[in-house]
């Protein structure tokens, strides 16, 4: 029996994994008491062990021969990969190789993959799927506070709040045990949910437990401006706090005057009375007005837009005007999605960053990391391209000709996926490491079978910035290797100037040293401290440092210690509605599936509940389009089309339809989504697209 954490979302619920003793049999899972999940699990967690023993588990490397993937041995696979990479490097330079990582990788793997790309491959071209997840929140947080830690406070702090506003977040579906932390706020009627749909989370506001605001898709930013404007005109701003802890107050205030409530109503479709009620509710909960505390929390609904960073900034500005961040019992936070979305963005998977959340363009940061790695700082590449631009550059003149994919399934998760998958298909070499034949692996020239969560040891940084140990609980199947082992071997074959350890504890100790002095300082952490059960939050600059459950209490991580109020203005969705494309499509998640569904679609209990792509629409819209419940429907946008089964619900706006994104092939909603990106974060506009719907006649 091993105490560990769930393989899925950033809540990282604690659980015990008990192997049955028979090799190949599915271990049993029992939830454990832990502050984030409080002994609870959703169906994904309860059934997580089934992925370990899925019948189509890969146990041998695959190599493409005559357009077919056939089993081969490790040596053949790795020497083919190494030889091809060396040839490409010789012919086209090191930039001809690209790496794409994932926010589910452990800190050790995220760190080592960044090191592998920059030293063993010597390429700047590395990015990861967190670009589609947390990049806008990260950019917004750093712009305001100088530091991005999803929740800069322990999750349990939410329990005592009088008001919580969730902007574009649906935790009742994405991380169900999180909901227990909303109970206290619901009791007092203080839960505010901003979502165009009446999601299970929005339904938590019913019966007087709060307020559901349902804006037109793509207008969260304007709604946030409206809430902030009301604080100013009604004298509800915490002026003492702003004077002491923020800069840019006058500029921010001046930018608010143009967003009076009636104008906000006209853009968002949220009635003025509701906007006022929400603003007053938040203000009453704020410490300045004697409340027990308030929180502003954002999720992907607010962030996955071509102006996601500005939307996050508008949310931060609201929180600052209420005097929340950096106070015990109040604050701003974003709800990280992927299991290690937080750690992944701190340790070098991002195109422009080095471990410790350091900028790769900063000479001091380069010198520090190069010294830890034992290389010449000048040999470190500079910043690479963010994900969408990286995929657009594949197999173009001067662009990468090979790509290594770890912990990601871009063939399902990329925006405008048909166009970008075409780039992937044009590569000289695609190498995918996975434990099943994901849709991306199925396209690869070489597939490497690797271990998964319970079969390896590593650390995860959860949505609170708390470091967790996920200890090995079961034996991996014969024939698979850890990714650390893969990189260790490949680095040697590539003639890397430095070795790559396959041992996670050794890798972690180096990560800790590399992060020392950085924003996300892990230098005081070790596997040993985690085994002893310490609750450790970064930054933790020394082995005897207790870690930092709450950052910002004394100062923000900006040069002058003040948070920066950065005025932002309206920006409509990139995709305009037209008579031909008169509806907004929003995308999201269902409870039973995680990300691209490569894991959860293989668990029968989950796939039975949510077997296929669906499109949710209002019965009145369905009636006009001649669509009945259960009909097959084609969804068309400027990019392409996908298909889904109609589900009718009154809990959605008449002008909006919804699809989950977990499904491949014809059911892939990303065939219609928009790859327009945020100018600051590189986040694509996954959340909103202009579409039309059409019933597919004669379909079974």
């Amino acid at each position: 029996m091993t105490a560990t954490h769930c393989p899925y979302c950033a809540l990282q619920c604690a659980m015990e994994v008990a192997p049955t003793g028979t090799r190949g049999a599915t271990p049993t899972i029992t939830p454990l008491e832990f502050p984030t999940n409080r002994g609870r699990l959703c169906q994904k967690g309860w059934t997580a062990a089934e992925v370990l023993t899925t019948p189509d588990r890969l146990t041998s490397p695959l190599i493409r021969r005559d357009d077919e993937l056939v089993p081969t041995d490790w040596d053949t696979a790795l020497s083919f990969v190494a030889d091809t990479l060396l040839r490409l490097r010789a012919d086209h330079g090191p930039e001809s190789v690209a790496v794409f990582g994932g926010g589910g990788l452990t800190n050790e793997k995220a760190y080592q993959l960044g090191r592998f790309a920059r030293v063993a491959l010597a390429t700047p071209n590395i990015d990861y799927n967190g670009r589609f997840c947390m990049s806008s929140a990260a950019a917004g947080g750093r712009r305001a506070f100088g530091l991005d830690r999803g929740l800069p406070f322990p999750l349990t702090d939410l329990d005592g709040a009088d008001a919580i506003v969730l902007v574009g977040s649906n935790p009742a579906e994405t991380m169900p045990p999180f909901v227990t932390h909303l109970a206290g706020t619901q009791e007092g009627g203080g839960l505010i949910v901003v979502d165009p749909r009446r999601t299970p989370t929005a339904a938590l506001t019913s019966d007087g437990r709060g307020l559901h605001l349902s804006p037109l898709p793509g207008t969260d930013l304007v709604l946030l401006l409206g809430l902030t404007q009301i604080l100013w005109t009604e004298g509800l701003v915490d002026r003492d706090y702003l004077a002491e802890r923020a800069s840019g107050v006058d500029e921010l205030r001046a930018s608010m005057a143009a967003w009076w409530p009636e104008r906000v109503e006209r853009v968002t479709g949220v009635p003025v009375a509701d906007i006022r009620r929400a603003a007053r509710l938040l203000a009453a909960a704020s410490p300045a007005r004697g409340g027990r505390g308030a929180y502003v929390l954002t999720g992907r609904g607010a962030e996955q837009h071509a102006h996601g960073t500005d939307t996050v900034t508008a949310a931060v500005n609201l929180a600052l005007c209420l005097g929340l961040p950096g106070r015990v019992g109040s604050g701003y936070g974003c709800l990280t999605g992927q299991g290690n979305g937080q750690g992944g963005r701190e340790h070098g998977l991002k195109a422009d960053q080095l471990p410790g959340y350091r900028s790769i363009s900063d000479p001091a940061a380069r010198a520090h990391v190069a010294e830890v790695w034992g290389i010449d700082p000048d040999s470190l590449p500079g910043p690479g391209l963010p994900a969408v631009a990286l995929f657009e550059s594949l197999a173009t003149p001067g662009g990468p000709r090979a790509m290594l994919v770890h912990g990601a399934n871009p063939v399902v998760s990329l925006p405008d996926v048909l166009r970008l998958t075409e780039r992937l298909g044009a590569l000289d070499l695609l190498v995918v490491s996975d434990f099943v034949l994901s849709e991306t692996a199925a396209m690869a020239d070489v597939v490497l079978p690797v271990t998964q969560w319970a079969e390896e040891t590593g650390t995860m940084t959860n949505l609170e910035g708390r470091l967790l140990l996920r200890a090995q609980a079961t034996e991996p199947p014969v024939g698979v290797r850890t990714e650390l082992e893969v990189w260790s071997d490949l680095a040697e074959r590539l003639g890397s100037p430095i070795p790559f350890s396959p041992d996670p504890a050794v890798v972690f100790d180096e990560l800790a040293r590399a992060s020392a002095g950085g924003v996300a300082d892990y230098s005081g952490f070790s596997h040993a401290r985690l085994r002893d059960g310490e609750a450790l939050y970064w930054p933790c600059p020394a082995p005897d440092h207790p870690g930092t459950p709450r950052v910002f209490l004394d100062r923000f991580a900006t040069p002058d210690g003040r948070a920066v109020l950065h005025p932002v203005d309206q920006a409509p969705p990139d995709d305009a509605l037209t008579p031909e494309l008169p509806l907004y499509l929003v995308t999201g998640r269902v409870l039973q599936h995680y990300q691209s569904g490569a894991q959860t679609r293989r668990v029968p209990a989950l796939a039975d509940v949510e077997p296929e792509a669906y499109v949710e629409l209002h019965p009145l819209l369905a009636g006009r389009l001649g669509i009945g419940a259960g009909d097959r429907v084609a969804v068309h946008s400027r990019r392409g089309s996908c298909e889904a089964v109609a589900r009718l619900t009154e809990g959605i706006r008449l002008d909006t339809v919804f699809m989950p994104f977990h499904y491949p092939d014809a059911g892939a909603v990303n065939r219609v989504t928009n790859a327009a990106t945020d100018p600051i974060s590189g986040m694509p506009e996954l959340k909103v697209a202009a579409v039309r719907l059409e019933a597919i006649r004669g379909a079974a």
């Binding site: 002994g39 006209r266 509940v609």
Partner: protein
């Protein structure tokens, strides 16, 4: 040599034009702005908030556009078109290559005795609500318990009346039409508005005009006299009967003027170097008097000038479909109107007009649909329907087959949800673990007699926990039905 732009007027539209022009980042331009008020640019729309005591000038102030020479408290006295020069009230000359007139409009005062002086300015006890100084004056006159007569039951009059009443004044609206807001709203809607005003303690007198005022010996206002010879005791007469475009400067410069400075679709006057935008301008589509169309004009003009001055084409601004939406900004009185209604509601094939009238519920909704789109709507007293209609009108999203569905919010969640005991066996009770009612029934039949036992058997309630009470209820009901002992423990692992 740089291109010299002179903007006369620093109201909401003039200010917006400067920001839009700055966004084009033109090289080699020099911009000078004359603003007749001594204040920075501010949001006129929010002046009723000042009456409520909710906002001060700083709260209304708009951000300054950097790189612009702003001269506050200076009027333009004359335009010398031959020399290309504007002369301001201090005598300073401002040469221009391009002149933009954003002069705005003046409030209209009635031509009855005792309201305005020989200089055209209001006499003591009389005010309009157009500028910050006006708002300030009204605010100091209308102290707690003051008696205010608002002349004019249009949008501004109604907004001011509601704000003043909320601030504690005793307010009477005098309106010459038979219902308030009758320029934009039909009579039935206006009647509901009138009743809504009465609910807020505001008296609305209709079909009557102000014929004069009575003053005390010291010159202060005593009462307002109406055309039906009634006298309404009053400490303040607030005049809100409309505005008149400021055109004198243009007229004296021999520019074409007819109820506004005449401009084409690019906002150009008959002089190719002179443009006019906002309330002072009359485009081929007329004068709207609203800020939305004024802002669109500012954007179009900034784009036009950027192309002309740089000599390069630029991406065309995306214009909002500003069909004109009138929204009354008054807390406690929701009223909005937009678009147009057909003259004859009975013509087949023309727009369909539907309405819902609920006077006692203080609600009235009327809408017109043509070719599957909302082309006109009026909504009083239903904030959510009003917001929905406004967005559907602006974004031109298709309406349901039967537009009657738009008259009230669809009934989602209106009926109380059925008790878990009455749900069908196939219903999902625990979403987090996809546990159906039948699975729980089976677990109870197999001996699980507490919620905890059911949780252990089915995982129901072990996720977010929201269904715990439903599971308890179900176990209890099933237990009673089966005669086994009822639930005593409800905690869950």
């Amino acid at each position: 040599m740089s291109h010299r732009i002179v903007v006369v007027g620093h109201g909401m539209v003039g200010h917006r034009f400067l920001a839009d022009l700055a966004a084009h980042r033109l090289e080699g331009t020099r911009t000078t702005v004359l603003g007749d008020e001594p204040h920075p640019a501010y949001n006129r729309i929010l002046l009723p908030d000042v009456l409520l005591g909710r906002s001060d000038l700083a709260g209304l102030t708009l951000p300054e556009t950097p790189g612009v020479r702003l001269l506050r408290g200076r009027r333009a006295a004359t335009i010398d078109r031959l020399r290309g020069v504007v002369v301001d009230s201090t005598g300073e000359e401002h040469p221009f290559d391009t002149l933009v007139l954003a002069l705005g409009a003046d409030p209209v005062f009635p031509t009855v005795d005792g309201v305005v002086g020989a200089d055209g300015n209001p006499l003591p006890g009389v005010a309009a609500l157009r500028t910050w100084d006006d708002a300030h004056r009204v605010r100091s006159a209308a102290e707690e318990g003051a008696r205010v007569v608002v002349m004019g039951g249009g949008v501004l009059g109604v907004e001011a009346a509601v704000a003043l009443a909320a601030a504690g004044s005793e307010v009477t609206v005098v309106h010459r039409g038979s219902t308030p807001l009758d320029r934009q709203f039909d009579a039935d809607s206006g009647a509901v508005v009138r009743a809504g005003l009465a609910d807020l303690g505001i008296t609305t007198l209709v079909d009557v005009r102000v014929s004069g005022v009575e003053r005390r010996r010291d010159g202060t206002l005593a009462s307002v006299r109406l055309t039906d010879e009634r006298h309404i005791p009053a400490d303040l007469l607030l005049v809100a009967i409309g505005v008149r475009p400021r055109t004198r400067l243009a007229e004296e410069a021999d520019l074409g003027v007819r109820n506004g400075i005449l401009v084409n679709d690019s906002c150009r006057t008959d002089d190719p170097a002179i443009y006019a935008i906002g309330d002072c301008a009359r485009t081929p589509r007329g004068c709207s008097g609203l800020v939305g169309p004024g802002w669109e004009q500012a954007r179009v003009l900034a784009h036009h000038l950027a192309e002309r001055i740089s000599g390069r084409s630029r991406p065309r601004p995306v214009l909002g479909a500003d069909g004109g939406v009138f929204r009354v900004k008054a807390e406690g009185l929701e009223a909005v109107t937009m678009g147009e209604f057909p003259d004859d509601e009975f013509t087949p094939g023309a727009a369909r007009v539907l309405s819902l009238t609920d006077p006692a519920g203080r609600r009235r909704v009327r809408l017109a649909v043509a070719d599957g789109l909302l082309v006109g709507a009026t909504c009083v007293g239903d904030p959510q329907v009003a917001a929905d209609l406004t967005v559907a009108f602006d974004s031109r999203t298709p309406v349901p087959d039967d537009p009657a569905a738009l008259l009230a919010r669809p009934l989602a969640g209106a009926s109380a949800p059925a008790s878990v005991v009455d749900l069908p066996e196939t219903a999902v009770v625990c979403r987090c673990n996809a546990v159906t009612k039948s699975a729980i029934t089976a677990a109870v039949a197999a001996g699980a007699d507490t919620a905890e036992a059911v949780a252990n058997a089915t995982r129901a309630s072990t996720g977010c926990g929201s269904c715990t009470s439903d599971v308890c209820r179900l176990v209890s009901a099933l237990g009673e039905a089966g005669g086994s002992r009822s639930l005593d423990r409800v905690t869950v692992a």
